[in-house]
Symmetry: C2
Subunit: 389 residues, 2 copies
Amino acid sequence: MIYLQQVKQHNLSVILKDIWKHNQISRIELVESTGLTSGTLTNLTHELIEAKVIREYQSVSGTGSVGRKRVLLAFDPHFYRIIGLDIGRTSYELVLTDLTGTKLQSKNGNIDAALGPEGFMAIIGPQLELLKSEVLADGKKILGLGVGIPGPIDYARGSLIHPPNFEGWDGYPLQQVLESRYGIPTIIEDDARTSALAEGWYGFGRNGMNLVSITMGIGIGGGVISGGGIVRGANGLYGQVGHMTIEPNGIRCECGNKGCWETVGSIPGILRRWGGSDMDAFMRDVRDNKADACACIEATLQYLETALVNIFNMYDPEVIILGGRLYPYLNPYLALIQDRMRNRIYAFAKERVLLRPSTFGSSQSAMGGTAAVFEALISRPVEILGYVK
Amino acid sequence: MIYLQQVKQHNLSVILKDIWKHNQISRIELVESTGLTSGTLTNLTHELIEAKVIREYQSVSGTGSVGRKRVLLAFDPHFYRIIGLDIGRTSYELVLTDLTGTKLQSKNGNIDAALGPEGFMAIIGPQLELLKSEVLADGKKILGLGVGIPGPIDYARGSLIHPPNFEGWDGYPLQQVLESRYGIPTIIEDDARTSALAEGWYGFGRNGMNLVSITMGIGIGGGVISGGGIVRGANGLYGQVGHMTIEPNGIRCECGNKGCWETVGSIPGILRRWGGSDMDAFMRDVRDNKADACACIEATLQYLETALVNIFNMYDPEVIILGGRLYPYLNPYLALIQDRMRNRIYAFAKERVLLRPSTFGSSQSAMGGTAAVFEALISRPVEILGYVK
């Protein structure tokens, strides 16, 4: 990209970020907040309106003859559509959103982990085709497809690298397959990281908060948003909080470490320690005060507490988000765990860190797929929209 | 700052970063790497030369009549000086460098922790005055003073927040005192973070590597450099790796947590577990194969190994740097520990992470003080040089 396009992309990105931050904002306020000249701002916002990324609308404050009319700018929900897809080991979810992060459609289902990637494609393919044709028939355009899937991710290849407990997906060229078969620009992302992106763009991060999002289910993953952006690390492994050792003499984990939080704190970890095979049965035993279930839940909460303290001390976030399929079972303990975590961190910072459930519940990762595409748009608008040749 | 100055600062910063990265570079190469027009580049490099931040010099490749002359740009080591100061609990170090990170002078000494900040100022003040007058008498200019000190740091106030085991420093307005008494622009930084900055600018990070720097001594601190910059977190606590729980049933730590790595893996932690008061005596017993000392060093290495695996899984760095007063005792075990760490991380990433000693040994934090000032120059040149009114 030549320099003038770089400058333009930078300026467009600044404008889009400011509009997003304020939800709606006037051109005069934008001139102030961006530092751009009003001429440049007028030209660039005109382009964004033409491109149907943002729209103008009139706001009237006050009433009758004293009412003051202002023209405000906001993201345009009418033209672009984003598809989010969460691929789990035993389930999937497909969502369609507009540019404001509003969910327009969603569909989910269970899958047999043994199907492998081509089996999964056979299920999801027709649904993607249908969704795409509906959007096009409606006169709209699909900006992109964002996929959340268990990592680690090979970002360069758009594939997975030895994902634990996920047969057949190692090296499968997922991004390339989706792009070539369905003709939609596709982003592949670790599902813990899509969950963090959903929170970062549409949830707690909207006002710029530093956050760590933890996804607890079959595994335990983490996504870190710091200084306004997601952090990926040297090998795409940043934020693998599920693989910190929490039980020094614990069992070997598939990652190579031992006593990982995931080995004791995930759904399989809890059930293994309890000696059963069903979370609902386990929670019934907890409610019935059965001694072994009570001991197991208490140990689970202690592991969680220690993990949260470590996460606080290592990432210093303003909010830690808990989500994933395990979370609903832990929800009743949220306030208790926040207290216990706060009692183990620096006194001066105690009240400054929040523990919160994920904003989109079970749709967190699929919504995060759309957030990944939205992040690409807002960070690299020229490239993504392709309207500057 | 108005928009044009922002653009200028951005462009100057891009130029300085590219010169730094390449060590020396021609204007033609800079036009290519920065994307700036050659007119803009000529003007801005002219300003930087006038300001004595960079200099031109002639390079001749080949010999005789076929020798090719090129004008290269590099940082100018002749005019600006930077002072780095490390304030430890029981020792201090003062260094003077030029703009290329070359150490020109250093001085260190022991201090009595009971002196408190004013007692410390009484010792360091005359030395700062002397250094300043020497630099000025020599016709040079001091760009700034960077201080590494045990945290946590209150960046807004330039002071410390309840630093553990550091009597009298809580809330002491260190930055303000140094600036008003000695008239030198001052940056205050956590000493684990200055150590990371030294590595980031002058050591392993010079080629853009993601790194975690661990400082082990009376306490254990960490500094994280990710995506080219140091990360500070919401409360200045990012990278407090010494306060991850490594011993679930361990003792209470001053930070509020229990079983922190620092409680078992720092110098006091090791000596407490061994039951002695002197590291040299401890290592003699290790060399003499005394059973309790051998058990204690093996446990120390196991704690270190677990901590390193956690650090890898949470920060995904390319290199982990070990330094601080404890490090020389651990140096003989470095290769062993790197192997043990690598055997507990994702197989595909195993060979991609290095464990290395800090580049500047005991001067790491003081050198990092100068690196903090250099980072400010290179990131905010207009502001730091103040030559654009």
